[in-house]
Amino acid sequence: MSPDLIVILTAVLAACGCGLIGSFLVLRKNAMLGDAISHAVLPGLVLAFLVTAGRNVVPMLIGATVMGLLTAWLTEALSGTRRVYADAALGVVFTLLFAVGVILVSLYADQVDLDQDCVLYGEIAYTPWNSLVIGGVNYGPRPLWVLGGVFLANVLFITLFYKQLKICSFDPQLARSLGINERLWHYLLMGMVALSVVAAFESVGAILVVAMLIIPGATAFLLTHRLFTMLGLSLLIGAVCALGGFYGASWLDASISGTMTVVGGIVFGLALAYNAMRRHLAQRLALRTG
């Protein structure tokens, strides 16, 4: 596989994996929780590095996922004390966690294979050389394996538990009255979000992961009224962002993850315009026939 193809594939898997699970964040009006989780995983990552003294994937994934769940739980606990509004609680928790993470990175930069730039932009361009070596055998780029695995996990999760996710996102009260453990599904979803964020983190960085979480789903939301179609479209849009980002970055001579986000913004903008036009036309039609 050529290095370019590897990078493209990594970008596509990152965007699609995040976009798919992130669609539910958009539907649950919890997009900023996705933003918070993607910031808060940083200290978990750094601690996992420090503790395992290496770039071992599994502790990294676990550490960061735990951090993500902790963020969701802390935020709820804090706003549950009723001393702080819910949106502020979110802001307080994730900014603190991210600040701690950045401090750890800057203090232990030499022991931890992360630096400030990587945290923000990711280093997707280095993917072809980031090899997974087990027992002396080189299995190829590690991020591809991780992202591929997480992508499959997301697809599996959503396929198996489609109806639970649907009803818990649409009408949590009905779900609870029917005996469905809505809280459990909420945390499972947040866990999958955290997992996806961590997997994409080293490729696209903290803040641009947010774009990949929200933009595909939000764009798809504007284009269709069916949940299943929306999820499928989010995959397509994620891929478009990835491809556009890759080729745009070489044209602009700029960061790939940044360009992916800008492409996402453009795609979203187009969908917004299209949607607005459609609504306008529908209104005019209704007025005339009404």
Binding site: K29, G91, V92, A99, V102, V210, L213, L272
Partner: protein
């Protein structure tokens, strides 16, 4: 130079550099804290996050267009793109079914992504003196110069003046927009002004805190200040103060280790202030609530003892019967361990007398025991008359309310119920002797 030398040098403020850094950081903290109050109350906390991230492309563009690293240009560019971001968020929410949270996330990440593109482009194009732009990511208070301070001073001064002048309007805007509109207040214009001021506060802070963490300065000072007071002017003042403290300490850290980014340290400090506020603030603080619970439990235990002794006295007619701790426990169903501290306190308060190792009610204790019993039975009467609850349902409720009813409520109950003689279980209600009819 060792740690203490550095610390002394810093706080002596002798060095002009130190003074600049301190001044700049504190000004940022002040303006951000001040504006954060209104943002918090309008439940728009996460907008600060979006605006801050959206400032990044503006910084880059200003550099490209103006070709200079002059702070004034950079901040102007930052303000422009941040303001644009606010407009776009509004646009998205108004023209589609996308909700505010997703709109914020999209604008935040797209603008930031554009900023990253511009920054990395500048980096690669080799415009060597761009290295300074990086400092807007995580903040570099050490880079604040004297000229920067003058600019910050002017802007902060204007902001504070504007807040003071328009205070009553901003207050009503934050608490009850709808009401403000009915009063004829041009809500749209004032909100426009407030948003502009928030953008300015965000942009001022970028040098010290950086784009990524500026959100914290627009949220945490206000959330902390809220714990200490219900009054808006005081909350605004406290939030500014907390912001300034965080700025100061952040500058201190930057001074000790100039290569560390300042932003995270400022955030850690302001979060600590938040933690302390949530725990220790009087009334609202969690600690204060815990203390309140403990006091309440103690008072309840003491009430139960007095009531039990009083009932025994009422039933037997014997008032000087004393009980030792174990005897009391057995007779009335208490745990001996629970009794020990309560008995000591009751004695200290003068409600119990200790005679020959046995406790009995003093005259005051008799009155107090009667009061608790009276409250219990009055409440039972109230429940059975006004809620029409049957007699066997009222006891549990009264058991709790007897500790909560104030003397004022007691008087009103007595009046409302016309001084009933008996409770729903046909038990006599004890009234103080001096109020018995002659």
């Amino acid at each position: 130079m060792d740690f203490w030398d550095l610390t002394l040098r810093f706080f002596a403020l002798g060095d002009v550099n130190v003074r600049n850094v301190v001044a700049g950081s504190m000004l940022l903290g002040c303006s951000a804290g001040c504006l954060s109050t209104f943002v918090y109350l309008q439940r728009q906390s996460l907008i600060g996050d979006a605006l801050a991230h959206a400032a990044l492309p503006g910084v880059g563009l200003a550099f490209l267009v103006a070709g200079s690293r002059e702070l004034g240009f950079l901040l102007a560019g930052a303000a422009l793109t941040a303001w644009l971001a606010a407009l776009v968020v509004n646009l998205i929410v108004r023209t589609s079914a996308i909700k505010l949270d997703a709109a914020l996330g999209i604008v935040l990440s797209v603008f930031f992504g554009a900023g990253v593109v511009i920054l990395t482009h500048i980096q690669k194009s080799g415009a060597g003196n761009q290295a300074g732009l990086d400092r807007f990511l995580f903040g570099q208070a050490a880079a604040i110069s004297g000229r920067d301070v003058r600019l910050l001073l002017v802007v902060t001064g204007l902001l504070l003046l504007a807040v003071a002048a328009g205070f009553s309007r901003f207050k009503i805007l934050s608490f009850d927009r709808g009401f403000a509109q009915t009063l004829g207040v041009p809500v749209g214009r004032w909100q426009f002004l407030l948003t502009t001021m928030v953008v300015a506060a965000v942009v001022i802070g970028l040098q010290a805190v950086g784009v990524v963490l500026m959100a914290a300065m627009m949220i945490t000072p206000a959330a902390s200040a809220r714990q200490w007071t219900d009054r808006l002017w005081l909350m605004t003042l406290l939030a500014s103060l907390f912001g300034m403290i965080a700025g100061l300490i952040g500058a201190y850290v930057s001074f000790l280790a100039p290569r560390l980014p300042t932003g995270p340290w400022i955030v850690v400090v302001v979060s600590l202030i938040f933690g302390v506020s949530v725990l220790l603030a009087p009334r609202r603080g969690l600690l204060s609530r815990m203390v309140g619970f403990i006091r309440q439990r103690r008072a309840t235990m003491q009430d139960h003892i007095l009531k039990a002794l009083y009932r025994a006295g009422m039933a037997s007619g014997v008032w000087d019967r004393g009980y030792d701790r174990v005897g009391m426990a057995t007779a009335f169903g208490f745990l001996p361990g629970d009794l020990r501290p309560a008995l000591g306190r009751l004695r200290r308060r003068g409600y119990l007398e200790l005679v020959n190792g046995a406790y009995r009610l003093s005259a005051e204790g008799r009155e107090e025991g009667a009061r608790v019993l009276r409250l219990h039975r009055l409440w039972e009467v109230y429940l059975s008359r006004y809620l029409e609850l049957p007699a066997d349902h009222v006891h549990r409720d009264a058991h709790e309310m007897e500790h909560i009813l104030t003397p004022e409520m007691e008087a009103r109950l007595e009046e409302l119920l016309e001084r009933p003689e008996f409770d729903p279980h046909a038990q006599k209600i004890p009234y103080p002797e001096r109020r018995e009819p002659a």
